[in-house]
Every structure is written in C-alpha cells, then in structure tokens.
Amino acid sequence: IVGGQPGNSPWTVSIRNREGVHFCGGSLVKEQWVISTPQCFSSCDADLTGYEVQLGTLFRDPGPGDPDQQTIPIVRIVCGPSESQLVMLKLARPATLNRRVALICLPPERYVVPAGTVCEIAGWGETRGTADSSVLNVAQLPVLAHEDCKKALRGRLKESELCTTPLRAGVGACEGDYGGPLACLTADCWVLEGVIIPSRVCARTDQPALFIRVSLYVDWIYKVMKM
C-alpha cells in the first residue's frame, strides 16, 4: 500500500507460495473461504498444493513466536464468472476467529456504495518507500460516483468496476496488494465492496483507482459456498 500506515484489518489474508513467500492478498468472507483475484494464480485448476494463507498477524514474515498467526493450506481454487476477475479459495480447515481474525461482510446483491463513502485498502505489498512494507498497511480512499469516474476515464469503465477518488498525495494499492479488500463501513459493519486488481501504475495521483465491484458477484459467491 502506497501512502498508508500500519493498521488492523483482520479479514485481510496473505497468500503465500510454496516457499512461504507472500505474493498476493485476499479477504476472509467465511471461515473456510477467501476471495482474491485470478491474476495471482496460474489457472482456474492450478495445483495449489503447498500454497497457504496466513492470517492473524500484522507482520508479513512473522517470527515463530507470533501467538495469533494462523497458516492454513489452500485446497481449491474456483474462478468467478467471465470478466469478474474474482477467484474463491477454499481452505483446508476453517480459520479460527478471534480479535485478530474476523470475517468481512459481503454486500447485498447489486448494492452500490454511495459516492463519498470512505473505504479502506489493506495489504503487505510495496509501499514505494512511504511506509514499512514488512507490516500490514492500511489506507483510506473515498468512493467516486460511477458517472464521475466514467468521465475521468473517458468512458472506459464497466458497471462491474468501482472507483475511488484520486488523491493529491499518491495513495493506493501496489505490487503484492492485489486480491486484497476494498472494505467500506456500511450499517456499522465493514463490507467487502471491492477487490484490488492489478493496474499499470501504483497510486496514480491524477486517475481514479479501479476495483472489482463485489456486489455484482455475491450470488456467485454464495452459490460456490453452497455447492
């Protein structure tokens, strides 16, 4: 996260490869399910043996004595509807919820976040020197109205995408944050309104940041968990 600061985001998970190295983020939506982006994975039927998620710690590479850290293998990947840029990851066992590990809410189907709502992005990715990238960083971004975003991007915006306002000081997601949450406070609960997707530039000051609008895919998310 560029322009963020160390923070608490108990639903943000770190996805680790077989060497135990963090490479992408994700969000815990159910004890055994994480949402992320397919750009982080080689295919929809990738063999994820040896891949794990790490939860409950603020450190990207915690020491062995971190009491709250949970590491759970990934057993399955399910790709979302075409062009959704979402994947669901099934964990080998349910995560234990506590003050460091919590579920994030899913939005109501087709819910549109009101413009101006302040949301959070979180991750262990690149900070471009703005913060300590060995810990979880969090940054606030206000939601931009769809029409205003469409104008700013000269029409290159789909309904399945959600924008945040460009800030004068560069704030945004960067390498290693992809797949992580855009969490917005709605009805006193933190809701997974967006998923961070790779873009060409990190934290651009003059352009809105794009996220996948999760509310368009909640029916699919529930269907996958049910089936």
Binding site: Q39, C44, G50
Partner: protein, 456 residues
C-alpha cells in the same frame, strides 16, 4: 549418515500383490527399520510399509517378478530395491538386477542355470543374482552386464546397458530431469527428499508434486543451473550432479508476447518496468542486485535486456528492479491471456429461457446430465425444477443465475460452471446503478477498533 531407505525406490499408496501366494507376515517397525531388515535379507526385494500402524511386510518379489501386480492401496507405501528396478547401471553394473535379457546386438541370453549351448562356471546362487536369462555382471567386467547367448557361435556378449548418468539426458537447466542418478558430481550419495536428515530442507515431496522429488535422485526444484541434491555428508549441504546435456534442446512452446499463460514461463514480451514504475534491472547486470540468473547459464529462459521473465517457476513474470531497496517485483500488470472456449451461441437476459443444446462449460468440460447423481449430487434437478427444461446435459439457468446458463460438470473437482455461451449483443440487462434498500449484517465486518498496532 546414509539412510537404509536410499537403496529403495518408493511408490506411494501402492501394494504389490502376488497371485497365488500367501501374504507375508507383518512386522513392527519404521520405514527405515524395515529397509534395514530388507537390505540385509538375501530373499527380500521389497517391502510394504503402513505409516499409520508402523507395520511392514518384507516381500521376496518386485513389480518385475512374474505373476505379480501393482495395486492402489492408500494404507501402504511400497519400497522396492533400486537394483531390481533400474534399467541403467551404476559403476560396473555388478549390482544390476534388472530384467534385460538380450545383448547389445540383439541376441537372446542363455539361462544361467543352463549349460547349453555354452558350458560355463557361473552357477546361480541366492547371493550372485544369476536368475532366468537376465544380463548380469558376476565377474565385474568393465563393459558392464553381459550374458552367454543362445547362438552357439557367440559365446557371450555385453548387454550394452547404459550408465545411469548417460541413460537420461537433460534439457535446459534440467528442471524436467527425471532420471535416476543419485550421486553428486564428487561421488557423494544424495539424501532422500522425503527425509530431513542429515540436512533439514524445505523441499518436501508432498509440497512440490510437480517437481519429481522421488527418493534421493538428483533434481532441480529451485531453478538452479542444473540438477542437484542434498548430500548424505553432514559437512556438505548440497551439491550439483553430473548429468549429460541432450544434444537437441527443446523449442519454446506456447510463446506469448502480449499476455501470459499459466505462470508466464513462455512469456517473451517486452514489458520491462514494474507496476510501480520502477525500471527492471538488466539480466546480464549484477547491479544493483546480485543474482544467479545470468543469461548464459539459462539458455532456454530468454533472459534478454531487462524484460519481465519467469525463469524459476514463480507465480508470474518478474524482474529484479533498478531500485536497490526493492529486489524483485512481479509483473502482474501484464494481463493473462484469455483461456475460455469460444462461445457457440448467445442468450438473452440472464438466459433463463435458453433452451439450446450447448453442453460444455467455458473451460470445455462436458456437462453432467441434470438427472444424473454422479459425479455431483445435484441440488437442482428435473424433479425439483420441472418447469426449467432440464433436458439431457444441456446448459440451463434454472435458478436465474445473473451470470448466465450453467451446468453441473463431469469433472469431480468442479461442481458447477458457466457455459460457453455469451449474452447476445442486443440483449439489455438492467443497470445496477440504482439505490439499494436498507442493509443489515450479522456476525461479520466487526473488528476491535481499540486494537492499536504496536511497533516493535
């Protein structure tokens, strides 16, 4: 420090059944203890080991014996003596116990217990391995295993069995090498990948199923210059192995330039900057980051200029960055190539009224018939949804899924998926950009706001 298991080749979840033979008795012991017993027994050629109960059965046969068959059995691991399984030789081949029975010129071998057409003094005994008419080297001939031939004019001939280091060659950096060399280039025996002694290591075979980490064979799971292994010498952690390079190197396949497939090992495009705008470091430079990915040592990886590449099987193309504080960055901003099937037909709205005959998912998997109970037990069927036209295995949308027609799939790992059908271009789907009703949540999205992040 060598393990007795080093003499054995392991087959997981496998049982070796001998037709018309009583099952051998079970004995208590770890796999290493059973290997020790089998190694010292002249009759023992293999053993089953049940990891859960720590029991083993010593077996006087291998998978190459007559009237024996391999069978899947999740309770057993089968360990067979390598000498009986190899089709190459180590050293002079005097330990070779394979089943090759023809000479290098194609003559059939004479049975060792037979004295015709050639009389000889090499009589079979349990110790010397002279059985059937298999090639053997009882006199430690430098040319390796040999046999008397059934041709009265040719008394004996070498069998021309290759040395293990020459039997299988390697391409590129040997990441695909699956041969049976189990010694390093200095002659030290390799440590088994499934053991953590004498050297503790991260390459557990279970964790790397595609890397071929079998037994104690030389492998290259980390994209080193060539295959290597941990050694049985406590003073030497790991060492390269000597393996012949194939004369023909493979041509690059599925090369892409504008996008990448899988992990992007075949990406040959020219993106040379990280997503945060940092230029990539040239592969032939060691500044600012020192590294081993020197282009000359990786001839198949196309480490040109400072382009994003994936020479080590990472998650995506990557590069060393020109910024000293950021060593490596993934090039996730290069998009993935689309991998979905071309749509054959189109549907209107959500496709609730689609009654066509497409019966494949977007990944090309055949749909499961709606009335079938395998591989998936359906929650939606012609019985539960009689009005939904759930015929054969055609794609349908009985639950008005907003993402279009779908089906249960014949792939046991994929319960359901969307079909290779696209929305019709004239079809209007209502916009979502409208105000939502009041929302409420339960048991999610709450955190301890008082939980302060504490620095060290």
């Amino acid at each position: 420090q060598r393990s007795p298991l080093n003499d054995f080749q392991r087959l997981r979840a496998t049982e070796l059944l001998a037709v018309a033979a009583d099952p051998p008795p079970r004995e208590q012991g770890s796999a290493e203890q059973c290997a020790q017993r089998c190694a010292t027994s002249l009759a023992c050629r293999a053993f089953h080991h049940d990891q859960q109960s720590q029991l083993c059965q010593l077996l006087p046969w291998t998978q190459h014996s007559l009237r024996v068959q391999l069978q899947k059995n999740i309770h057993y691991d089968l360990y067979q003596k390598k000498d009986y399984l190899r089709d190459c030789i180590v050293g002079d081949g005097s330990s070779y116990r394979g089943t090759r029975a023809t000479t290098e010129k194609g003559l059939r071998c004479q049975h060792w217990q037979s004295m015709t057409p050639h009389d000889h003094r090499f009589l079979p005994s349990p110790r010397n391995g002279l059985e059937e008419n298999y090639c053997r080297n009882p006199d430690r001939d430098k040319r390796g295993p040999w046999c008397y031939t059934v041709d009265p004019n040719v008394r004996h001939q070498s069998c021309g069995i290759k040395k293990c280091e020459d039997a299988v060659c390697m391409t590129c950096n040997g990441e695909d090498y699956r041969g049976t060399v189990d010694h390093t280039e200095s002659g030290t025996e390799c440590q088994r990948w499934d053991l953590q002694h004498p050297h503790k290591h991260p390459y557990h075979p279970n964790k790397y199923p595609d890397k071929g980490l079998d037994d104690n064979y030389c492998r290259n799971p980390d994209s080193s210059e060539r295959p290597w292994c941990y050694t049985t010498d406590p003073g030497q952690e790991r060492e390269f192995c000597h393996i012949r390079l194939c004369k023909k190197q493979p041509r690059p396949v599925n090369v892409t330039t504008g996008c990448f497939r899988g992990k992007g090992e075949s990406y040959r495009g020219r993106v040379n900057v990280t997503v945060s705008g940092i230029p990539c470091q040239r592969w032939d430079s060691q500044v600012p980051h020192k590294h081993n990915f020197v282009p000359e040592k990786y001839p198949c990886k196309d480490l040109k200029e400072n382009y994003c590449r994936n020479p080590d099987g990472s998650e995506a193309p990557w590069c060393f960055t020109a910024r000293p504080t950021v060593r490596i960055a993934f090039c996730f901003h290069i998009r993935r190539c689309p991998d979905e099937q071309d749509a054959q037909e189109c549907y209107h709205g959500h496709g609730k009224h689609y009654h066509g005959h497409v019966s494949k998912t977007r990944k090309g998997i055949t749909c499961q018939p709606w009335a079938a109970q395998t591989p998936h037990v359906p929650q939606i069927s012609p019985v539960t949804h009689p009005e939904a036209h759930l015929e054969e295995n055609y794609c349908r949308n009985p639950d008005n899924d907003s993402h279009g027609p779908w089906c249960y799939t014949m792939d046991p790992r994929t319960p359901f998926d969307y079909c290779a059908i696209k929305p019709c271009s004239s079809s209007q789907v209502p916009s979502i950009l409208e105000n939502a009703d009041a929302v409420a949540f339960e048991q999610c999205g709450q955190r301890d706001e008082m939980l302060q992040w504490k620095g060290r």
